[in-house]
Symmetry: C2
Subunit: 505 residues, 2 copies
């Protein structure tokens, strides 16, 4: 995530003076955020192993290094060094020789051009088994026809202010999803509507028995029907929250600073759930058509939520910030003049007389990639960031950040997919320099060069997307064929075939 956490300029807020130009590349502004995976974060334990099917509760038992790459890349020590080389920026993919990723998923990544010491993106791809939860008495539930569930899982995590949060999330978020789904194993496999209420008597089995349903109450004329799909969405939402809470609990012991965006795909019982918290993006390219599967959460897209919070809880703004937005910084000499503004209720702009309070720094300022909350962070959802403070202040930024994803659902059974239909996930390193249409064109170009049943075609596509966003070193920079600057950020891409050679019955 390039420059998404800025050195805050809040020390200039009260003086009203002009702050110095913002730093060009360093990404780690203050003492309150950790150095970018520097010495103190050297490896203290082995990286997690891929494909583990343990149902053990999600716990961090040791600190991890952020200088690690996804284990499915199977990097040797030499390979790890090459993957960490900002000058070469070699594109990394799982080896052709090893075990393929589920569904023949394609993956490629490249490190940034120097904005942080290590690659702060992380990735995970797993098949996770969910057994039903043991009853309170300790005995396993009576076996039903359910016998547990499997879900396929892909996650991209784009770290900022250190790689620790992304690394932890890549290792544990799917375990939290697994944990949340444990209560639902039987319910999700029962075609009848989920019971609204479950007894919680120790040792009482099951919940999918409709006799557990308590009848509707007269205060609503009908009870709300809750779908299986909305239970999975709720499970994913709560898993994100539990992951975030775990980071809060364990951050001190493990020097886990910073935060990360999280873009996660869960395939379960015929449906693809795409959960996004941050500014990574997912699209489906199906028969050339583009279907957006996520939206980004930034200070601009979440302006009104942020302003409302600042308005309702002004103590969160300290004496440094105002919840109002202005199109530029106000100077003290402009006091009493009429300035454009908008508040939490407005989409449009209007003029107001500048008062003393308006000289405070706006909670939300800047445009596009330069938009910031409290002059510091450029994404408004994600995991971690519990220690993030406004520079030169003790004001925490976390209250304005949400760990909750937006979850979109795609029913894989509603369409006959062909091998060229794919779900593409990318961190902002991809999307900063590539649009949906260009990705769709690359999908078509690369996949048509391979046999439909060649499972390596999706890796080739992921590599082409990463290379296309990175560019080649030329004219003192990484440049695209059109001579524009390529992405200097970490770039990570999953290509998930929706009708490919993978078997996902």
């Amino acid at each position: 995530m390039l420059n998404r956490v800025r050195s805050a300029l809040a020390h200039l807020v009260s003086s009203g003076g002009a702050p110095p130009p913002s730093p060009k590349s360093p990404d780690l502004p203050s003492a309150t955020t950790a150095p970018p995976a520097a010495a103190p974060e050297a490896p203290k334990g082995p990286p997690a192993r891929p494909g583990s099917r343990s149902g053990a509760p999600a716990k961090t038992t040791e600190a991890r290094t952020s200088f690690c790459r996804p284990t499915f890349l199977q990097l040797s020590p030499g390979g790890l060094r090459r993957a960490d080389d900002h000058a070469g920026r070699a594109v990394q993919s799982p080896p052709d020789t090893g075990r393929r990723l589920p569904w023949s998923t394609g993956y490629a990544e490249v490190i940034n051009a120097g904005k942080s010491r290590h690659n702060e993106d992380q990735a995970c791809c797993e098949v996770v088994y969910v057994g039903g939860r043991r009853s309170v008495s300790g005995a396993p539930r009576e076996p039903s026809r359910g016998q547990g569930l499997c879900f396929y899982y892909w996650g991209l995590f784009d770290g900022h202010a250190g790689g620790g949060a992304a690394e932890m999330a890549s290792r544990l978020l799917h375990r939290h999803i697994q944990e949340q789904l444990k209560d639902l194993v039987e319910i999700l496999q029962d075609p009848s509507p989920p019971p609204l209420c479950l007894p919680s008597t120790p040792g009482t089995p099951g919940s999918s028995d409709p006799s557990h349903l308590v009848g509707p109450q007269p205060c609503w004329s009908v009870q709300k029907e809750v779908t299986h799909e909305s239970l999975v969405i709720g499970a994913i939402e709560n898993a994100f929250q539990h992951m975030d809470e775990q980071m809060a609990r364990e951050r001190r012991g493990h020097q886990m600073e910073g935060g990360c965006c999280a873009l996660v795909v869960v395939y379960l019982l015929g449906k693809v759930y795409v959960a996004n918290a941050g500014d990574s993006r997912a699209i489906i390219v199906r028969n050339g058509e583009i279907i957006p599967m996520s939206r980004e959460f930034t200070p601009e897209t979440e302006r009104q939520r942020l302003q409302l919070l600042g308005f309702l809880k002004p103590e969160l703004l300290g004496s440094e910030f105002t919840h109002l937005e202005f199109p530029r910084r106000i100077q003290p000499k402009e006091l009493g003049q009429m300035m454009l503004y908008r508040d939490q209720n407005m989409t449009g702009w209007a003029y107001k007389k500048i008062e003393l309070e308006d000289l405070r720094f706006p909670l939300v300022c800047g445009e596009g990639k330069k938009a910031r909350v409290m002059a510091t962070i450029g994404v408004t959802r994600g995991l971690g960031d519990h220690n993030l403070k406004v520079c030169g202040s003790t004001l925490p930024i976390k209250p304005f950040l949400s760990c909750f994803p937006e979850v979109r659902v795609y029913d894989l059974t509603q369409y006959e997919h062909c091998p060229d239909d794919v779900l593409v996930l990318g961190t902002d390193g991809l999307w900063d320099v590539t649009n949906d249409h260009e990705v769709a064109t690359t999908v078509d170009r690369v996949l048509s060069a391979y046999e439909p049943n060649d499972p390596s075609r999706y890796t080739a596509l992921a590599q082409a997307l990463v290379l296309g966003a990175r560019g080649t070193p030329r004219d003192r920079g990484w440049r695209l064929p059109n001579n524009k600057l390529g992405s200097g950020d970490d770039i990570s891409v999953f290509v998930i075939p929706l009708g490919g050679p993978g078997s996902y019955s």
Copy 2:
């Protein structure tokens, strides 16, 4: 608005007992809301005159009756009685003989089937002139090429718990818009980008002079560009707020109780602005294609905003409500069991153990037309409702209601419109029984039966839409051709031609 304000059941909340069945038709639940335009609200002054171009500030100088209809209907006393007849439910339109509405706009309305004493919908259609604001010194601004602006205005107001708010809004909201636009007269006519900051020195003219621009500050790399369009949006948003504040100030003196939804169209400088606060709806039918121009604000569509407010300001919930949503009412005997819920962050559902607090009544409950905030009101945006309380409690509901509209913009210059292209506005009386597709079919059917240059075709269309939603009296009710119940609510419809015989250069 049929049954949109319910007799609150909150007195049953703490007891946990089953409330009595909700009343079938009466709409006026409690002593805290006014009777439906009954005796105390008898006429105290003449209704506002249409087409007035006065720029006088918006003020209520006397109380009005809610037993009045839009003056453009030109109803005689006998006509007014017929318009007020629940048994006949005669469709009302402006007379063919009088002055046509601007743009040859079509209009039709019908009273409800008995759910309130009078028709609580109101409507307004005006051409409003905006002169520039006088400077502080009292002298008029130097004349520029601007010379003031005209906007076309249409408004539908669907009252609840009395007709006072709708009547007041229909008389004054366009005056508030006019007032907000006064500062922008010169700016909107100047093709250069609006100045971000205006001097406010007494007597200093104008603001569209770019020399008034103060240069960008270094704390943002660029200043935000604000469009003319977003100034108009801001003006409309602030006009809604000022209208609502005026209702708050004047409600006691004029027995103005209740509230109203507001759906407003402003045509200004080539663009159509559709502002909606409530559950009325607007669509464009263009060459058979349907373009939604509004969305509804209900407890269901605004659930997360409402829950967030309840979560951040629990004092607004008293001891009677919980911000959590449950799919049905919880019984005290279910304490300790696992129940589905969702909070302000969730789209999906999950199980939680029922605690004592969960026995409170949910802030948001019910589905579809039966969804309610605090068991009382079924719309979450609009004007008025300052006195609305939970029945049997002093808990105010207004903090959860927003007076701010969502504004959508349609650029009339971007498409060559034909006489059959129309913007249709309707209160929920129309939309409860008619969908977009049926409206589009009626548009085609009715307009094709008239010559394209026949200005009466839009009134005929509005009448057909109202009749189609009302139905005919049969089998002890108003029934549609398919024998389903027609709308028993007040129904009001504007049909605004986008390429018709109206001249709107």
